[in-house]
Amino acid sequence: MEATALLTLQAILSGVLVGGVYGILSIGLSLAFGVMRIVNFAHGELVMYGMYAGVLASRNFGIDPLAILPFSFLLTAGVGIVLYQFVFRHFVGHATLQQLLAAIGCALVLQMIAQIIFGADARTATSAFAGQYVVFGPFFVAKVQIVAFAVAAAATLAVELLLRLSTWGKAVRAVADDPEAAEVVGINSQYINIGAFALACGLAGLAGSVLVSYFPTAPSVGFSLMPIIIIATTIGGLGSIGGTFLGGICCGIIQQVTAMTWNSALQDVPLYALLLLFIAVRPTGFFGVRSE
């Protein structure tokens, strides 16, 4: 009994740490939906490019993946601007069938380009914190996970503050609320949308470089991360940055507790059930914006 309780507490602890990274993985998706009603299914692929940036930095230059976060951010933000100009520009304002399919098309193309460049095999990066563990009381956690969680929490806080306090952030929220009214008061909603989309995509790359410090990458990793990103975003609330971060933490806890107490092969199944439940009962999640 005592051992089970300890194990569960340990699972919750590692769930929170993993969940913080799920949170940073997801907030870009949430932001793009909140501002432009774009569900970017290619988000996971941008995360994957951020992960490869970390792998290349670590393998070829011996730089810690966590040290290249600004570079990954700019890289995928650039990719995001290209995607916006060619594809998503046409779909701002409504998450239509065509928009979702176009995003899937982008995802397939980005994934296959990565496979052609990097090959299909899994690659790993080496973080300076790898293999170190912190022990306190009966619990132990990998140091790299603590660092990753701290970076994720800091980045989320920074985005939240940027949107709440800066003039640009206020303009973004104005466009999200009502693009026409924002235009009337002199905000160029096209520029705001490009900026917000670049920020959303840049966050994906940044999150990828955080994740790769303890998780291997492969061209297919984007697709396999998408479910957890979607679930975290839906539970926390599509469009809410802080809510999405909390949604990620919920996902992490549920996943780790399931893995520890039931079956690690089926660790995501309760999450899928939870997603269906949320869609049926409360599709806006805990803190989400109304869809239409």
Binding site: Q98, L101, G105, M112, P227, I279
Partner: protein
């Protein structure tokens, strides 16, 4: 046996007051496919590729019902393909139940799953249904990987082969599947035509075009969406029998994976969403292009080029020809008539 009957039914129903040109455009392709094995230059590879195209046309036609006519974006139609394949496969391998019966069990299970999924998620508009279908398909990947005894896990489930047999729907050569899949394509084409013309299909299209207006006009919106989803799921599961008997194996990724789901969507998207003829053209184009790129990618030694081509096709169609190939042809035809 199937084909002459199907051909004559096409002729009789189309020949009343329909231009000769139209009759020819329906009968000729069917006749060409029917006599394909007799032609001198045709080998088993060409027949197998044709069967693949016909199978994906059938599956695309089924997806077209929910997405094209109903406007609900099911991204996880692999769920029903997989349930159909696994049900027939497991029933046959473990209990010796032939696919003639197992297939219908798969249809019932798929319809039930569609009913539950639809009831939970179709009250919402927009993205949530799409997200839920993705979630269910990925959950099924994990479940199929986990229950190794039943599904064979990651290695997949291979049908036991007992030699050529109609009872077990097995054949070493692709010839018999040509006629079976041709019958499926014809049947699904007429089902789609019937749905498009029926009151039920009109209700689905009204819901697709404007939910609020449809509800105001007295269309039971939620029920229409769920029934459309169930019909589409049942048609997918039935065509899955063909898929399973032809490929003889299924694995979790091929059944429930997202790249499979995209192959189920491309025929209708390429050809023309919501039209009965679209998936036929789109499926043929999709398989032709994938055969060409597979041949090309083995030449240059790069894997996965076909997926890249699928992605580019998807983007090109959505950005430049949202009504698909059929839409482009008809626009030009009408433009020509107007001048």
């Amino acid at each position: 046996m199937t084909v002459p009957a199907a051909t004559s039914s096409v002729t009789s129903s189309r020949s009343q007051g329909v231009p000769y040109r139209l009759v020819a455009s329906y009968v000729l392709p069917v006749a060409i496919i029917a006599v394909l094995p007799l032609l001198p230059f045709v080998n088993n590879y060409i027949i197998a590729a044709t069967v693949r195209a016909l199978i994906f046309i059938s599956l695309g036609q089924a997806w077209n019902i929910v997405a094209g006519i109903g406007g609900q974006l099911s991204l996880g139609h692999g769920v029903f393909l997989g349930l159909g394949c696994y049900t027939t496969g497991i029933l046959f391998n473990r209990y010796g139940i032939p696919p003639w019966i197992g297939g219908w069990v798969g249809v019932v299970i798929s319809s039930a799953v569609a009913l539950v999924m639809g009831s939970l998620t179709l009250r919402m508009r927009g993205v949530f249904f799409a997200l839920a279908t993705v979630a269910v398909s990925l959950a099924l990947v994990q479940i199929a990987l986990h229950f190794v005894d039943l599904t064979g896990g990651g290695d997949g489930l291979a049908l036991k082969f007992f030699g050529n047999s109609l009872w077990a729907m097995q054949s070493r050569l692709p010839g018999p599947f040509l006629y079976a899949s041709l019958a499926f394509v014809l049947a699904y084409y007429w089902i789609t035509r019937w749905v498009l013309a029926s009151d039920f299909g009109l209700a689905m299209q009204a819901v697709r075009d404007d939910e609020v207006a449809a509800a105001a006009a007295g269309v039971p919106v939620f029920r229409t969406k769920v029934l459309g989803f169930m019909l589409s799921a049942a048609m997918t599961a039935l065509a899955a029998v063909l898929y399973m008997q032809f490929y003889m194996a299924i694995d979790p990724e091929a059944a429930f994976g997202l790249s499979q789901a995209i192959q189920l969507q491309l025929p209708a998207l390429l050809g023309g969403l919501g039209t009965a003829f679209g998936p036929i053209i789109g499926g043929a184009v999709m398989i032709f292009l994938s055969e060409v790129t597979n041949w090309g990618s083995t030449k240059v030694g790069i894997n996965g080029l076909d997926i890249l081509v699928y992605g580019l096709m998807l983007l090109a169609v959505i950005l430049h020809a949202p009504k698909g190939i059929v839409g482009v042809i008809f626009r030009n035809a009408f433009a020509g008539r107007a001048h």
